[in-house]
Symmetry: C2
Subunit: 97 residues, 2 copies
DNA sequence: TCTGTATATGCCTTGACACGTATATGCTCC
DNA sequence: GGAGCATATACGTGTCAAGGCATATACAGA
């Protein structure tokens, strides 16, 4: 399975994830809101689904896609090691002021 | 300038960043610790430098590389929009238990 | 069952990028 | 200033993924 970092390297996929954060959306809604060709949307959703970022349910002819938290949380976990570093810098800056 | 997300999509670059979080390192130290060919290290460092992830200072024949916070913080900022979504899910889970 | 709508997949082309190898640059010390 | 070490760059190559377009699949409603 591709790393979560490689998945979110693609700007259109990040846009899709941002869109899904408010609520689930159908492929057509994503297509219209992002003004992206439908096959492109479907392909990115496939990548996102296989990497565990989203899941889908069937609603008649439509598929509704929604976010799943785990992969983005893994990215968040990786970033955690740098937070100590950031706060040290901020502390040093504040002491300096 | 390349997006921070594309930069950290590369596993070796993430390894370099993780290595630099403890302290600054020379190219040779990175090369040895990650068992990576020296040109590869230099090339990745160049990409990281041009994207603002690291900066370097000259120490005689060596170059010491150290972390800069901004690009990783931008990634962190992007992740922020999903934190609300995660905590809602955790809350719902906790209520369910 | 036919038509239209929604979504997925296949094929092809193109561009980007990581890697290996070789070589260049720059500094230090004798 | 020559030798050796540390780092950077140049070049050629293979791989892989995104985009465009055509087409297939699936479902709904008359």
């Amino acid at each position: 399975m591709e790393s979560a970092f490689a998945i979110i390297a693609e700007p259109n996929r990040r846009a899709i994830l941002s869109l899904l954060v408010s609520s689930q959306q159908s492929v057509g809604e994503i297509e219209r809101r992002l003004r992206m060709p439908q096959p492109a949307v479907s392909k990115h959703l496939r990548v996102l689904r296989e990497a565990g970022f989203v899941e889908s349910t069937v609603d008649a002819q439509r598929r509704l896609y929604r976010l799943k938290p785990k992969p983005l949380q893994e990215v968040d976990d990786w970033l955690d090691q740098f937070r100590q570093f950031w706060s040290e810098r901020v502390d040093a800056l504040e002491r300096h002021l």
